[in-house]
């Protein structure tokens, strides 16, 4: 068996096993364990991307997914400071069994749909195309053909940032209640500033 294929199976098995471990109620019971297992799974996926010549994506997978998104997850889990008795023993219910059945059905459908066509496919030889998947080539395409979606994604990230601040900040410009009189407003402003919330980046009414 060629090394490439062997590596593929090893990385794939790693990704699947760590994801499965994250979902199992035993190993992935507490959110922090699940998050760490998910990071492991993302590293395996990064390896798979590298194996499939997606160099830029492989790095982004580590920097953005494992590095930024999952750190955000672990940060929030720490912030919530869940005590051990808040983490529940999983129960088996009909709803869950139904959910598992649905997922199994979807998987069956997927296998059925994928199988036939994919076996006939022949890969393009990349030896003539050695810039494939590099920063230069992906970047070039991103800023030419995909300029509009790129700009749209920037709007999306702005929306997400504004939304996250609106939802998660403890006190907005004034504490959540009907518009106060000027005197009251002054008080609550002082309170908000004293809370050390300035880091949250809300361009408040100071």
């Amino acid at each position: 068996m060629p090394t490439e294929l062997l590596l593929f199976y090893a990385l794939g098995a790693g990704a699947v096993l760590s994801t499965a471990a994250m979902l199992l109620p035993t190993t992935g019971r507490s959110p922090i364990h699940a998050a760490l297992l998910l990071i492991v799974s993302f590293f395996f996926l990064a390896g798979l991307y590298a194996l499939l010549s997606a160099h830029l994506l492989s790095i982004l997978q580590i920097i953005v997914y494992a590095g930024a998104i999952m750190v955000l997850f672990t940060f929030v889990i720490m912030l919530l400071n869940l005590s051990p008795d808040e983490i529940r023993e999983p129960k088996i219910s009909y709803a869950k069994m139904l959910g598992g059945g649905v997922a199994l059905f979807v998987f069956g459908k997927l296998l059925n749909g994928i199988g036939l066509a994919a076996s006939a496919a022949k890969a393009v030889d990349l030896t003539q195309h050695d810039t494939f998947g590099t920063v230069k080539e992906v970047g070039h395409m991103m800023y030419s053909t995909f300029m509009v979606p790129f700009e749209l994604v920037s709007v999306l990230l702005l929306v997400a940032a504004v939304g996250a601040v609106v939802l998660a900040k403890k006190n907005l410009a004034y504490v959540d209640r009907p518009v106060p009189s000027p005197a009251e407003e002054f008080k609550t402003e002082g309170h908000a500033a004293g809370d050390g919330e300035a880091a949250a980046g809300h361009g408040g009414h100071h």
Partner: protein, 102 residues
């Protein structure tokens, strides 16, 4: 040429996608449900990378890049929602969110 058959890549992605779906449908902790959605998005990325590798289409990598950005946005808003739910109800379990059920 690559020795990895496209079918195997797509099947691996399908397996990951289904695992993510299992997580959303059977786990009750909101944080883990969000992580499961991330797994599903990763499976999509793997599919795109596989297709791109087989046809030398760079477009697939660009799409995967956009999906990573969307995943980041989703994680930010989702976790902010988890925080604000936790602030009001001290729970991260979806079963406890039954205020609206009649």
């Amino acid at each position: 040429m690559t020795a990895i058959p496209l079918g195997h890549i797509l099947t691996l992605a399908a397996l990951l996608f289904s695992l993510g779906l299992v997580g959303v449908l059977t786990r009750r902790n909101v944080l883990i449900m969000l992580m499961s959605v991330e797994v599903m998005l990763n499976a999509v990325n793997l599919t795109l990378v596989g297709f791109s590798r087989y046809n030398a289409w760079t477009e697939g990598h660009v799409l995967a890049f956009f999906i990573i950005a969307v995943a980041a946005a989703e994680a930010a808003v989702g976790l902010a929602l988890v925080l604000s739910v936790f602030r009001l109800k001290q729970t991260t379990y979806i079963d406890d969110l039954r205020l609206l059920k009649r």
